[in-house]
């Protein structure tokens, strides 16, 4: 290890709107898994978050995933923690954050899926409304 420039930020009282855009299928690349890790960490900072699933990202929350044949780790159960964090945010007055889980309508329908096929309770938004929602975010992370 050589020189480093470690800094600390004063983020006391800062509340921002984070958007996490899940665009990729759950397996095949690591993006879905590592976005999920970002989302879970962000909960500790009590920031507002929109967790959006678009394009093949919708498959990340499809029911009945079975990775046995590919030898990949099936991490779909971990989305249950996202649901739990949202539930806590909705119901616990001591937790000051708003979380929304959103699926783009066009992406879902193009893949022959309906909300009952999904492991999370989602808001289904047409792409125009999702675009409006994206426009008001402070920080956008995607994968």
């Amino acid at each position: 290890m050589g020189e480093q420039n470690s800094v600390d930020f004063d983020t006391e009282g800062v509340k921002k709107n984070f958007l996490f855009v899940n665009r990729k299928a759950p397996y095949g690349t690591i993006y879905a898994l590592e976005v999920l890790e970002m989302i879970l960490i962000s909960a500790a900072f009590e920031q507002n978050a929109v967790i959006a699933f678009i394009d093949d990202g919708v498959f990340q929350i499809q029911k009945g995933q079975d990775t046995t044949a590919t030898g990949m780790k099936n991490f779909s159960k971990t989305y249950g923690i996202v649901a739990m964090e949202k539930e806590d945010a909705d119901e616990d007055d001591d937790i000051d954050m708003v979380w929304r889980i959103v699926v783009e309508k066009e992406s879902m329908e193009a893949r022959g899926l309906t909300p009952t096929d999904l492991i999370l309770d989602v808001e289904v938004l047409p792409s125009t409304e999702l675009a409006d929602l994206m426009a008001v975010q402070d920080v956008v992370f995607s994968g």
């Binding site: 290890m1 420039n5 994968g143």
Partner: protein, 119 residues
């Protein structure tokens, strides 16, 4: 302006790290403050000091380190992403440090703009 940078790809397969480097350099030279550059996904490979590009190619690992030294920029590699890719303290290039994903969320909170480089 206070700027946060996220680099999501390694130094060779994609151009994202090159673009991030040039953006960071230009921003600092224009008088902006780059609070931190955070490396995630394959972006953690930017911190591998064992990287040896061919002699006539740019060496991004070294360039990031020099930029950090010249301008006091904090280069942070995500620990979880790094460990699964074999990036550990003993092969960490100058200027980089390994820390948690929380440092990315904090960066998003502290920066006026968070700029993401990746596919």
């Amino acid at each position: 302006m206070k700027i946060g940078i996220l680099v999501n790809e390694g130094p060779f397969t994609h151009q994202a790290s090159d673009s991030a480097y040039h953006f960071t350099k230009a921003a600092v030279e224009k008088g902006h403050q780059v609070l931190r550059v955070f490396f995630y996904y394959d972006g953690v490979n930017n911190a591998n000091k064992l990287s040896e590009p061919q002699f006539d190619d740019r060496n991004l690992v070294k360039m990031w380190g020099e930029l950090a030294a010249d301008h006091g920029i904090d280069l942070v590699v995500c620990v979880a992403a790094a460990l699964r890719r074999g990036i550990k303290d003993d092969i960490l290039a100058d200027g980089f440090r390994i820390s948690g994903l929380g440092q990315l969320i904090e960066l998003g909170m502290a920066a006026d703009r968070t700029v993401v480089f990746g596919d």
